[in-house]
Symmetry: C2
Subunit: 325 residues, 2 copies
């Protein structure tokens, strides 16, 4: 480019962009990359939803400024909507040329627990040594299991509930079942997210895995891959990623199966997700009799979580954790 284009010049180019085709859509659909031309010259236009302004003046007038509010559904105190940002004075009708650009959720009346859940929570990275696991975290897991927190898992495994959600089932020593993750719409293949729940009850988390489990893990991995491509023949095995969480949300071993194209978020992040193949590799390189309970695991915790408040924050401050053995 031999001349520098002026502000007015480039601003005038945008509306003259003629679309040829959509190249890509990502960031949960909030960014689009368009290929086209401007006066015959090939051009790319990339549009991205901007961050909301948190300027107090704008936030105060935000709810009044919404246009074309359309209720999609309601359930008890929850209701959800589509709406449009508006650029009109109140009470003036304008024609719409573009679809709604906002999703709204309303919770009314809301409780303290809601407020806590939706407030920003600080995060900490903790190092769980084998000793901290044995003395504090393992007893914590036991308490959770004894509180009946796993009843829903056992109900599904024993066939008492949610059978319509069980996409696949295999019984026996290497038994497992596959359920869709709540966050998957069950339609968009590139967003596929399944959970493989194992039938055996002796593995509470990755911490219970030892060298003795290597063959079982390799078989489980292959079975989960085979089951998934059987359910969805358009997917190849190398388009699937398998990982576990530590800390997991519940203490019954389960494996996440996602499409490699699923946009990575917190569920797949370092400090939360550990690749299944990585666990197998680590076990293979350990000495006989060793296992994941014998190494340190570092991961993130929310400051409002029980593990932080009852174990790791006390340890950091030099106090004795509530849960100790």
């Amino acid at each position: 480019m031999s001349h520098t284009r002026s502000t007015q010049e480039v601003e005038a180019m945008v509306p003259r962009f003629q679309l040829e085709r959509l190249l890509n859509q990502d960031q949960a659909g909030r960014r689009i990359s368009l290929l086209g031309s401007i006066d015959g010259t090939p051009a790319l236009l990339i549009a991205e939803r901007a961050a909301f302004s948190t300027d107090p003046v704008h936030l105060k007038s935000f709810s009044e400024s919404l246009d074309r509010i359309k209720n999609l559904g309601a359930n008890d105190i929850y209701s959800w909507f589509l709406a449009s940002t508006t650029h009109k004075p109140a009470n003036q009708e304008v024609e719409s040329t573009q679809p709604p650009d906002l999703k709204l959720n309303l919770i009314s009346p809301c409780t303290e627990q809601h407020i806590k859940k939706y407030s920003q929570q600080g995060v900490r990275l903790v190092a769980e040594t084998p000793e901290i696991y044995r003395r504090h975290v393992r007893p914590y897991m036991q308490a959770k299991r004894e509180q009946g927190r796993l009843n829903w898992v056992f109900n599904i495994i024993e066939g008492r509930t949610e059978q319509e959600d069980v996409f696949y089932r295999e019984q026996g020593l290497e038994g497992f079942l596959m359920l869709p993750d709540l966050n998957w719409d069950r339609k968009t293949m590139s967003g596929l997210h399944l959970l493989g729940l194992v039938e055996r009850r002796d593995i509470w988390s990755v911490r219970d895995l030892t060298k003795e489990h290597i063959e079982w893990l390799k078989h489980m991995r292959q079975k989960l891959l085979d089951a998934t491509v059987k359910l969805y023949p358009d997917i190849d095995q190398d388009q699937l990623k398998l990982y576990i969480h530590y800390q997991p949300t519940y203490y019954h071993f389960h494996i996440h199966v996602v499409h490699v194209a699923l946009e990575a978020g917190a569920t797949q992040a370092a400090g939360k997700a550990i690749g299944l193949e990585s666990i197998i590799s680590q076990l293979e390189s350990m000495a006989t009799g060793q296992g994941i309970a014998d190494i340190s695991l570092s991961y993130t915790l929310g400051e409002a979580s029980e593990l932080w408040m009852d174990i790791f924050e006390p340890l950091k401050s030099g106090n004795e954790p509530k849960i100790s053995q």
Copy 2:
């Protein structure tokens, strides 16, 4: 709630929402959680930018429908803007009450390489065994290094370029320097993202790490944490996450340092990021003389990447990779 609210009722509630305060902002600022009240009843309003419509009719009229296009900057073929979605017929002036809700990037004229870069790329998960690494991937790394791809790294380390970007420097056997990552705005602390480049040149990637490097890695980890909290005293060490990439973008060992609050995206995902503490743990549990080159690493590759096209796709199809030893 003893009565079910009608559509009209709930739609009328939204504009009556009175803001008390902002609870949280996430999804790169594209979701806000607001606490307030409706007619005195506490309520939560959560607003999220919706996905773009990829309906062909809407996409075609998209560029013409943009309003209040404001050019922020330009550099050669690139220009970037803020804009607003509009809900008005063309040529009618309307008053704006809310800030721009779109960010635009325009590349004109664009080349085939741009189109390739911005088009959706398929992804594959590959298993790089020690043998595949030794026979194919290591030679590929060597070729990249010999092509002069690392000149920019050596220029920075040797003080010839970009010194204004070097936030921290330590020389010697455990020498390193810290640079801000391109994606960080250098202002928002919760988005902190630094890169620690080591001075030593014998470590091309995580594959070169053996048990012998454990002490060096522990020292490097502590130095990076100390340097970061020295630069940013409001941050605690346990608010930082350290990881490396495999495959990395360039074959000179470097460590990512991010704030734990940084929203996890592709850079932190399983199949790309490996926690530094995890590498240290794995090395500690290996036998003497062993290292990361002796285990299998599974990770994701784009189908347009050289590693996929020249090594892993041929292996998958039963052909001999281009790069072989």
